[in-house]
Subunit: 254 residues, 2 copies
């Protein structure tokens, strides 16, 4: 087994947020595999580099294909957006290893981290992740809605800031509304809810609302939703969107 497989995260969108380590892996690969939207963001590679574009729905098949190519001796890079370990391809690759050819365990498999969407979204509005926080994917393709509700409740009971990934899609238009309705049982009506679409790109769009009166229309898969803790605050400023941040301390401001 001489092949190599690196799972990389391109970051949230702008090429300036892709780490040099990821750029180097992309430039050296013989084969790139990924969802076509991410492959299109990878710069042109060396002559002969092959690109295997796939549909977004088949993570496990894509992982097995990548492992097969690596087992043939190729230098394979699996391309994710954001960070590959956060609701992306890295876990699928290891699931394919565990359930696949035992020889795959001898492959050189590496993960190259990246800037995940919640960090870019937080940076667009200030520092809402300044305290302890949770990340929850609202997609119920892979887990039950009961699990999602249990996690939302636990996150509220712990007074965590909450980052919601995959908040809505055409197949699941109502889940974000249901999730926020569930959270209203546990959190104050004036809790800030921040929608950041296309964070970390020049098209970033921010909406800041409150949990009690939130409007979830126009939220899509490119949107990251941040829900404050009891210590999340808003700083109004002249002629611009307010800054949002979460106090590091439970003590009074001084």
């Amino acid at each position: 087994m001489t092949g190599r497989l690196i799972v990389v995260g391109l970051g949230p969108g702008d090429a300036n947020l892709t780490t040099p380590a990821v750029s180097k892996a992309l430039a050296e690969a013989t084969d790139l595999i990924g969802y076509i939207t991410y492959l299109d963001r990878a710069p042109a590679g060396p002559p002969g580099q092959r690109r295997h574009a796939t549909d977004n729905r088949v993570e496990l098949d894509r992982a097995r294909h990548a492992l097969s190519l690596a087992a043939e001796g190729k230098d394979v890079v699996v391309v994710s957006g954001g960070d590959p370990g956060v609701f992306a391809m890295a876990a699928a690759v290891f699931e394919a290893v565990e359930t696949g050819d035992v020889a795959w365990r001898a492959l050189d498999i590496r993960i190259e981290p990246g800037v995940t969407a919640m960090l870019a979204a937080a940076a667009e509005v200030g520092a809402p992740l300044g305290g302890d926080f949770c990340a929850i994917s609202l997609s119920d393709n892979l887990k039950s809605w009961a699990t999602i509700e249990r996690r939302l409740k636990a996150a509220a009971e712990g007074d965590f800031v909450i980052a919601l990934y995959n908040p809505a899609s055409r197949a699941r238009p109502d889940q974000l509304g249901k999730a926020l309705e569930h959270l209203r049982s546990f959190k104050a009506a004036d809790t800030p809810v921040i929608f950041v679409r296309a964070a970390g790109t020049s098209d970033a769009k921010i909406r800041i609302q409150e949990l009690g009166t939130v409007d979830v229309t126009s939220v899509d898969m490119r949107t990251l939703v941040l829900i404050g803790s009891s210590l999340t605050r808003k700083i109004e400023r002249p002629g611009a969107s307010p800054w949002i941040y979460t106090l590091r301390s439970e003590r009074e401001l001084s």
Copy 2:
């Protein structure tokens, strides 16, 4: 107010994990401010660039100093490790804005995200953050131990993967042991506990243990601790440390 303040995260350690956007901000700044360990990681800037090294303990004073310099018209960069919005300087800057000179609200303040420690730590061992997860700082400088225990319990009840930042220091040698003891009330004894020291550097060191028999000696502030969920799995492999990942799905492996 013509000055500018950018709060940047250098990433976990290796220069190849610092984003080009952060490198550009560092190269253009007139003034860098930060804890000396982080300033020492910033490459040499343009002639005349001033560096204001501070002690790690005085985040709010450092933030006020940075804002004062920006208000004088300087291009100031506040330097954090990892991501500046995760247990780092961004929240302190906004706290200083809210409690400081109202004119500071007109400053051009930006946050440049980075690869936070838990992403680099996860990448060292596989994909342990493959499911929903929480990040908790164990430092009780700014919050009560009761709050920390409440969050640990909530994270366990939600069956989140847990990332513990700031697990121990000379001033707080016993807190990690207390935190894991608390978690033993709620989580299975065979839950994987992963210690990654100096993640994202060539000195990275990994220890994989189980919650029931965990040994917390030799854990320090450069260590990131990851605690699995019920879906976190270990893949043994020949001649190397096992891979750890968290299943994306509650369904059986196929």
